[in-house]
């Protein structure tokens, strides 16, 4: 089989990026409840697991996972998260690509781990708040110290690695749920 990506592969990447992006958007909209801001790293990895595991059944060549991640990162960036999503997304996409490749593009657990790793672009959105907290708020000095304290109370620096672990764990859970749904529905229906 030819290992060059063809139009079908790229169209598949586009389709699953679109589905994942719509889900991310819907989840992000629930950010009306402020605590959801933090819970993004819980809900996004869990919910996008289903389309992602379906996507992985279409992945048989090098590059598709990486491209999907670059696009998700770029979409995150332009819709107002931070450019860390793009940087982290590219790196984790590459790692995920390698993990899934080791699993010969078919192993379920390699797929789940690949998903959890690639999903770290979601966590990357918070890097800005942690590393650049001063810059993040300095432009808004009219917020006053109380405000900044309140925010930093909600997101103390030690939360940064915690969120990373949470994101990874939720990624594994989401990937696992995704592979369950894949088996329960799409494989049974013969469309995966």
């Amino acid at each position: 089989m030819n290992n060059r990506l063809n139009a079908k592969d790229l169209i598949n990447v586009g389709i699953y990026t679109a589905i994942s992006a719509v889900i991310c958007c819907l989840v992000a909209m629930t950010g009306v409840i402020p605590i959801m801001m933090v819970l993004l790293v819980v809900f996004v990895p869990i919910l996008t697991g289903i389309p992602y595991m379906m996507f992985l059944t279409k992945v048989k060549k090098f590059g598709m996972i990486l491209i999907l991640n670059i696009l998700m990162g770029a979409l995150m960036w332009v819709t107002g998260m931070s450019y860390y999503a793009l940087i982290v997304g590219t790196i984790t996409g590459l790692i995920a690509e390698l993990i899934y490749r080791i699993g010969k593009y078919s192993s379920k657990w390699h797929g789940i781990i690949a998903y959890a790793v690639s999903g770290l672009y979601c966590w990357a959105n918070y890097i800005g708040i942690f590393f650049n907290a001063d810059a993040y708020f300095s432009t808004r000095q009219n917020f006053g110290q109380d405000y900044i304290d309140a925010i930093t109370k909600m997101l103390p620096p030690w939360m940064c690695p915690v969120l990373l672990v949470v994101d990874l764990l939720c990624g594994v859970i989401g990937g696992w749920i995704g592979s369950k749904v894949l088996k329960k529905h799409f494989e049974k229906a013969g469309i995966a």
Binding site: R4, A7, A18, P51, V78, D146, K153, V181
Partner: protein, 239 residues
């Protein structure tokens, strides 16, 4: 009446200019680079997307966006001192809206006014690989499809009376997601088949029916973006 295709028909800006503007907006509005030093440019970049909407005669969307922006801007300003945790979280949310909204409008403007064909050609001229541009153009094409499909599924759920209470969150997700992904996957298969029988392939030279070139508005916007970056660099390294 005889039809003649107008190959010069395009929105105000070239796709490349739109992307440069999006990039600039991401850096200075969302990313807040340069902070106070960029004050003037910041506000230009905030209101430029709405101006573009008005030029496209999208009055309603433009006015609603401005209203939301101003409302959240002032609401956020009024929440300043002695805030409870809830109030500060609210303030943070409003603050995020004021950051994201302008870029989100710009992104929507770009999706609505850029033709897939035009986009592929413009990216090709900048030597961006097909491996990125084809998926991006499929995303353009597929957003409305995903929306249509999920609306239809949502209708079916309402009609069948399986709208979910809090206790059945898992089903609520499963029942929405499964038909959505199944449908999209089938449409995707057929879409790829159709596109490939029409000669779409990776890394082959395409022509483009639309004349894409930089016009006067492009020059203004590109100059604006360049000045933004130059001013920022000057501020950052020389002052």
């Amino acid at each position: 009446m005889e039809y003649r295709i107008d190959r010069d028909a395009h929105s105000l800006l070239d796709p490349r200019t739109k992307l440069l503007l999006l990039f600039t907006s991401s850096v200075f509005v969302v990313g807040n680079a340069g902070e106070k030093w960029m004050f003037v440019f910041y506000w230009i970049l905030v209101f430029l997307p709405v101006l573009l909407l008005f030029i496209e005669k999208e009055w309603k969307a433009g006015i609603i966006s401005i209203a939301i922006y101003i409302a959240s801007f002032y609401a956020q300003k009024s929440l300043q001192h002695d805030l409870t945790v809830f109030e500060s979280a609210l303030a943070l949310m409003l603050y995020i809206i004021t950051k994201i909204l302008p870029t989100a409008i710009l992104a929507r403007y770009i999706v609505k006014t850029t033709k897939v064909s035009e986009f592929l050609a413009a990216m090709n001229r900048m030597h961006v690989t097909d491996k990125l541009t084809i998926p991006v153009s499929v995303i353009f094409r597929f957003f409305p499809t995903v929306m249509e499909e999920s609306k239809s599924i949502n209708d079916a759920m309402r009609m069948r009376g399986v709208e979910m209470g809090a206790g059945k969150a898992a089903e609520a997700v499963e029942y929405r997601m499964v038909p959505l992904i199944a449908s999209c996957s089938i449409i995707g298969e057929e879409l790829s088949a159709a596109a490939m029988t029409r000669g779409l392939d990776v890394g082959k030279k395409r022509s483009c029916i639309w004349n894409i070139s930089f016009g006067f508005p492009d020059v203004i916007i590109i100059t604006l973006c360049l000045i933004c970056f130059i001013w920022w660099i000057v501020g950052r390294f020389y002052i």
